[in-house]
């Protein structure tokens, strides 16, 4: 196997709230370790409050771990966000919040490219090619977000995330707000684009069926710990940990 794109080594994150005797500490991540290889999707499932989104924030470098190390392409994740601009990208649950309502579709997709370079015919062409890849023809270029459906807008956010050819993409509940049929389109789209661009992906969702469909390996989180991490085929069959069994039996019943 090739060197991992991102690796978490024994990462812990604690949040505390309250003051004085009512002060409480929550372990959002409790000694979490995993690697993701190029071209691989790791699915991350678990109930609300299990630490899924904190894990997402940590691998994006938005949350510093209290303990442990996050490595991106072999080196510890630098504090400087700009140093990896475009190398790590995210697709979030609500496309309406991810895209500037005043910007046109083509500008939205172009924006990540303009972090390090000036607008040029080449960058516009690159954005255009990406929009073609997600199935939005040139007639969409000048439309604004309110003129698009939820599914089309989620395609724009996928295009926006992948236009910089990132090494690593985090999908946090990226299909949860979509219709079943649109969800299938986006899942297939992500699969195809990954085959082409070989990015590593972390697919965070509470939708077990979608996670199982898109992931190569699945990690099940509970109370900040990873209770099981196994190839997806295990989850079609019989997961080892009782909690994962309980989660996945819903699908087969």
């Amino acid at each position: 196997m090739s060197a991992p794109v991102i690796s978490l080594d024994d990462v812990s994150v604690r949040f505390s709230s309250g003051f004085g005797p009512t002060r409480r500490t929550v372990r959002a991540m409790d000694h979490v370790s995993f690697d993701i290889a190029p071209g691989e999707t790791l699915g991350l499932v678990g109930e609300s409050g299990s630490g899924k989104s904190t894990t997402g924030a940590v691998v994006l470098g938005l949350q510093r771990p209290d303990e442990g190390v996050v490595r991106f392409e072999g080196a510890p994740l630098a504090r400087d966000l700009r140093s990896r601009a475009g190398r790590i990208q995210a697709v979030l649950q609500h496309p309406r919040w991810a895209v500037d309502p005043r910007s046109s579709v083509i500008d939205a997709v172009l924006e990540p490219l303009l972090v390090g370079a000036r607008r040029s015919p080449a960058s516009v062409a690159q954005a255009r090619r990406m929009l073609d890849a997600v199935g939005l023809p040139a007639s969409f270029d000048q439309r604004r977000p309110h003129q698009l459906s939820g599914g089309q807008l989620q395609r724009v956010s996928v295009a926006r995330a992948l236009v910089t050819r990132p090494a690593f993409v985090v999908f946090d509940e990226a299909v949860s707000a979509l219709d079943v049929s649109v969800q299938a389109q986006i899942l297939n789209l992500v699969q195809d684009l990954q085959r082409e661009h070989a990015f590593a992906a972390l697919f965070i969702s509470h939708d077990l069926a979608a996670v199982r469909y898109i992931s190569h390996r699945v990690a099940v989180m509970r109370h900040g710990r990873i209770v099981e991490l196994a190839p997806t085929s295990v989850f079609y069959d019989s997961p080892a940990h009782p909690y994962s069994r309980q989660l996945f039996q819903e699908l087969t019943s």
Partner: protein
Amino acid sequence: MSAVTIRDLALEFDGSPPVRALDGVDLEIAEGSSLALVGESGSGKSTVASVLGRLQPRSARILRGSVEVAGTDVLALDTPALRRFRRDELAFVAQDPIASLDPTMRIGRQLQLVLQSTGRDASPARRVEMLEAMRIADPERVIPLFPHQVSGGMAQRIAIALALCRRPRLLVADEPTAALDSQVREEVVRLMFDQARALGTTILWLSHDLPAVARWCDDVAVMYAGRVVERGRAADVLGAPVHPYSRALAATDPSRIGEGERLVSIPGAPPVLHGEATGCAFEPRCPLRTDACAHTRPHPVAPRATLCIRTDELRRRVRESEVSA
């Protein structure tokens, strides 16, 4: 007796050109049963639900058809009667639980107001009981909170308690679990169904969560472009769909497919109608279309009221494939 009877309901939203949201809906829900209305966004599910309480926006014009809920002709009610009807017979549970509660009022106060309106006991003890019935642990802690201070799952349970405490005849739940995570989702749906069944309340559940629909509802009606294209027992319609659209919809559900299989998504998007569809509205996206489909308006074919001119042929095929499987 049926709790809901909708006959040939057609509705347009004003505009230039007007948008035809419902194009001849026929729907019947038996008293005390549960029916799931499934379909893509824009298929008209929510419009049907709003017409049941005559809650459709002002820009909507009903062109023809009738709507009866529990024997009442909803479209003919005058204002005081309509108000009474909405209060006594109907209850709604909306998608966003926190937005459906009053943000300026503590939860205990909201429970009190609704309980008072029933003319029954509204004492603090009764309020605690109501929350306990919804399996909310530690109700005394929850009662003085504001809606933004509780979790989505808890807010939805409170909304369901509020909806059901007037013992409505019909509960309309518009994607009540779409905003919740899977574990809480299961529990909220179970509570909603248990409580409604205990009261004999009929449930209309709008959803695109097909596995959950198959597990919980007695019947399913599949909507497409403002018409019900197939309806029947949930296990039949989702397990062995006949209409090409129901089939395509069932095939997009990732929990049904095995390892290594690929989801088949429906190409294109649902149409926006500007008048009565002359043929089958699904024809442009249908893998099984024939030349006749574009200009023959399909009529319901028994036993599942399938709106497809090739129903007989397709039913035979479904039966064969069941035998081979």
